[in-house]
Symmetry: C2
């Protein structure tokens, strides 16, 4: 292999895959959606069934997006439960911990994409999430105390080949375009319908 | 075993465990918190680390509650990722699907507890959750389109030893005291802090 060939491959490869992100594909996706905005309409779905007590299982497989019915590579499943101290069987994280995971995974995905789009190699990104909740609401012992978290804090540690200011800006840009951050901070309308066998 | 002994065991057992819920323990917990409201202060936590691209791993283990530092029976882990159509490696559900799971598992836990507290045996409970999202927001292609879901719908099918009206009321009471329903519909303040090695 000549020095020239190595050089060519290097210049070809370096913008392609950074932090595991295929940045040309990412930019091409954004361009495709800009040209045809309907491709941006997605619908995500989950099917849950009650198992026993506070335990339930959920499957996430099919979704709609980019004009097509799609599926994940496999049907992902997850468990929700309460710990023993909250009269559950502790077969899985609590629903409110799943909210923290949802938020963390959204901010992390954004950090990966934003850093890559800016050509910044990441070495390590960690986040610790903490949510404070007063269960007087959930337990029906107070109408003044809300059911959900009083507040959530997220503490990032980020290391990469950029200045502290640039690294901080990556996290802040991720936050600015995070779907779950928007959902958790601003709220979303949720409708609930119920069918019983007698209605079927 | 005499008929009398069987009868005694039946009357003893039937209020104890229904739908896998130890209802006397549930009521005792509520009474204990009523007497000492500080026991209701909980803090849930998650630790997340970025893996590659849009993929991250999260651990949910320790939490604070009922006046003590506690842990789950094991350190639960979960993955978040984007599917290929969104330039990810599809190693796990998307962050916004995790929101659906969080909501489903909270409503399901409530249904289990409320039905049991009302002495209603559940035969089957399923829920299908759907969230619509326009990615023009997340992709930075529109400032008018929000980043998160436009809306979420939850469709329950519930079967149990009660009238359709009573079964529907179980779901509605679960919703009325659901932590995640409150978080997702009303929003929660989220603070984000960033540290870089240079600051450590």
């Amino acid at each position: 292999m000549t020095a020239n060939a190595t050089e060519t491959r290097k210049t070809k490869r370096s913008p392609v895959l950074i932090n595991g992100v295929d940045t040309p594909a990412l930019f091409a996706t954004i361009d495709a959606v800009r040209a045809q905005p309907d491709l941006a309409k997605f619908q995500f779905r989950a099917k849950s069934h009650w198992v026993s007590g506070t335990q339930s299982h959920c499957t996430m497989h099919g979704f709609y997006g980019a004009g097509n019915e799609l599926t994940h590579v496999t049907a992902f499943t997850a468990v929700g439960d309460h710990p023993a101290v909250l009269c559950g069987s502790d077969h899985g994280p609590t629903p409110v911990e799943w909210v923290l995971h949802a938020l963390a995974s959204c901010l992390m995905a954004g950090v990966g994409n934003v850093a890559s789009a800016r050509g910044i190699k990441l070495n390590k990104v960690e986040a610790t999430l903490v949510g404070d909740i007063d269960l007087l609401g959930v337990l029906g012992l107070s109408n003044e105390v809300r059911n959900g978290y009083q507040g959530v804090s997220v503490s990032f540690v980020i290391d990469g080949d950029a200045s502290p200011e640039e690294l901080e800006k990556i996290v802040m840009q991720s936050k600015a375009r995070s779907a779950v951050y928007d959902i958790v901070t601003n709220g979303v309308p949720v409708s609930i319908g119920v069918k019983t066998p007698a209605m079927a």
